[in-house]
């Protein structure tokens, strides 16, 4: 584990030197995607310059080295999340595909009419819609874990949702719209008392908190590479071996087969059963660099720094007149969502953009959350390890300036 040196870290991210609208870029939209350190960018170039070849196919040298590199990523992910086996790590396009694999390959065979799936009131659309599609197809039902006004899940309400019809639970580790860190271990244990498997959406957790899938005893865990300083177009579905083995393949095609005749196809083993077709090889290989990068700083150091920055940002923004935080959970990570009385979030976003400050405005793909708070959307600043207190000061004065203009 290294030491946390913010200047060194910022130097690793070339994009942070650029200007936007004539102002130095202040990037606070990390919940949408993070920037990439030069180690990852260089690896992408190196892949195409040195080893470009298809994986798991060729006997030739380049195919072997790209296959080896791709499999190194799988083992690095395994170690990063402390999975028991590397074949429990399925390389996907991203979190959305990972959740869809579970909805399709676990949902279709094992969830039937009148069965119930529990999700929470703070889910991203990606962890709502695949289940709704399954419910339409199979006649099963969604049950929603309620949330309080601070944006915390109601665990008594959660317990009361279980019955013999409950077949799966799926919820987010960290809310993308509110920043709430859910008590995942406790929630998983509750589900397991009813023998119900649990999928955790880790898209907003994996870059901020150390995740140990075995300590959590989670059944499925999904996340994306591009939100953890890695390339776009790659993500991970972790699943317990026993469950993944029970599930049919996701898509048919190359790589997922053992033997194909026109009469019958036998499927390949884990993890390839779920990885039909040529994957995003470059992103898959270069995800390893992002993991190495995070490990070189250390997630504990990253968490400590980001938590300090979140506390500072909360304290500073609280001084803006009329500003109201949306999501004030006791345990939060890296996300500050807010509204200002009488001002549309979109207007604030436009003015901040002109000041070179990138935030997200709108419903953040979590419309039910916004409906719950009876607002059209929020302004969301989401932090990464390279953000600084000076950037938070610029955000605060930018919001104040926007409010003066827009009132």
């Amino acid at each position: 584990m290294g030491t946390f040196d913010i200047l060194n870290i910022r130097n690793d991210f070339p994009i942070l030197d650029r200007q936007v609208n004539g102002k130095p870029l202040i990037y606070l939209d990390n919940g949408a995607t993070t920037h990439k350190p030069k180690q990852v960018i260089d690896a992408v170039v190196r892949y195409y310059a040195d080893m470009n070849s298809n994986v798991h196919r060729g006997v030739h040298y380049l195919s072997q080295i790209s296959t080896d590199a791709f499999e190194i990523t799988r083992r690095k992910v395994q170690a990063f999340i402390n999975a028991a086996h590397d074949h429990e790590v399925i390389i996907t396009k991203g979190t959305t595909e990972a959740i869809n694999i579970v909805a399709t390959c676990y949902g279709r065979p094992f969830i039937g009419k009148d069965d119930e799936i529990i999700i929470s009131a703070m889910e991203h659309h990606s962890n709502i819609v695949p289940w709704q599609m399954l419910c339409e197809e199979k006649g099963c039902k969604l049950r929603i874990i309620p949330m309080n006004e601070r944006g915390e899940l109601d665990l008594d309400g959660y317990r009361s949702l279980f019955s013999e019809r409950t077949k799966l639970v799926s919820f987010t580790y960290v809310s993308n719209a509110l920043g709430t860190v859910n008590p995942v271990k406790e929630m998983i244990d509750i589900a397991h008392r009813y023998n119900v498997p649990v999928l955790v959406d880790g898209a907003q957790a994996i870059q901020h908190l150390a995740v140990d899938v075995r300590a959590l005893d989670v059944d499925f865990f999904a996340f994306s590479g591009h939100k953890m300083y890695g390339p776009t177009g790659v993500g991970v579905l972790y699943g317990k071996e026993e469950l993944l083995n029970k599930m049919p393949p996701y898509q048919g095609g190359g790589d997922m087969i053992k033997d194909v005749t026109f009469e019958k196809t036998t499927y390949n083993e884990l993890p390839f059963k779920f990885e039909a077709g040529t994957p995003n090889i470059e992103a898959g290989i270069c995800l390893a660099e992002a993991i190495d990068y995070i490990n070189s700083i250390g997630l504990d150091a990253i968490k400590e720094y980001e938590d300090g920055l979140l506390a500072y940002a909360t304290e500073q923004l609280a001084r803006v007149e009329g500003l109201r935080f949306i999501g004030t959970a006791a345990h939060k990570s890296s996300v500050i969502s807010f509204v200002v009385d009488g001002i549309h979030p979109y207007d604030i976003g436009v003015i901040l953009d002109k000041l070179g400050i990138a935030v997200r405005t709108g419903h953040h793909c979590a419309q039910p959350v916004m409906d719950g708070f009876q607002i059209p959307g929020t302004v969301r600043a989401s932090l990464a390890m390279y953000n600084t207190a000076e950037e938070i000061d610029a955000l605060t004065s930018g919001v104040e300036r926007a409010v003066r203009m827009l009132k």
């Binding site: 609208n21 001002i343 549309h344 979109y346 207007d347 436009v350 003015i351 002109k354 405005t361 709108g362 059209p376 959307g377 203009m405 827009l406």
Partner: protein, 139 residues
């Protein structure tokens, strides 16, 4: 004034503002001058899709000319729709439908015209021209 004369006047107005801040302040000011849509028309029937904020637009045909009233829940979007109303409202349907809105580029708002922009300026323009065509066909 014709549509082009109004556009030329706006280009001159905007040339006066040097930095973006003054430009946006002017747009916000324009938003306050928009002929407001009647509350009864602020329904889903008159909402413009494709905006992160809500925009309502209502067309009316009077003496062979199309008049627009509008509103938005976001103040900058309201300024943008106000600009469009200023240029297009009160002209014959045919002229609205075939108007070349060159002023948008010239006052430095071209970035807002991209179809992927959340403010929906492009959707506003499209909808205003569609309304004009529909009302023109009726008259």
């Amino acid at each position: 004034m014709t549509i082009n004369e109004i556009q030329d006047e706006l280009i001159e107005d905007f040339a006066f503002y040097q930095d973006w801040m003054e430009k946006y302040e002017y747009i916000i000011q324009l938003g306050k001058e928009v002929p407001l849509i009647k509350e009864e028309y602020k329904t889903d029937d008159y909402i413009i899709k494709g905006c992160q904020s809500k925009v309502w637009l209502y067309p009316e045909l009077r003496d062979g000319k199309v008049y627009f009233t509008a509103d938005s829940d976001a103040i900058i979007t309201k300024g943008l729709v106000s600009l469009m109303v200023k240029v297009l409202s009160g002209h014959p349907a045919q002229e609205i439908a075939k108007a070349d809105l060159y002023f948008i580029d010239q006052i430095g708002l071209k970035e807002h015209l991209s179809p992927t922009r959340a403010n929906g300026l492009l959707s506003m323009v499209k909808q205003m021209k569609l309304y004009a065509l529909a009302l023109g066909a009726k008259s």
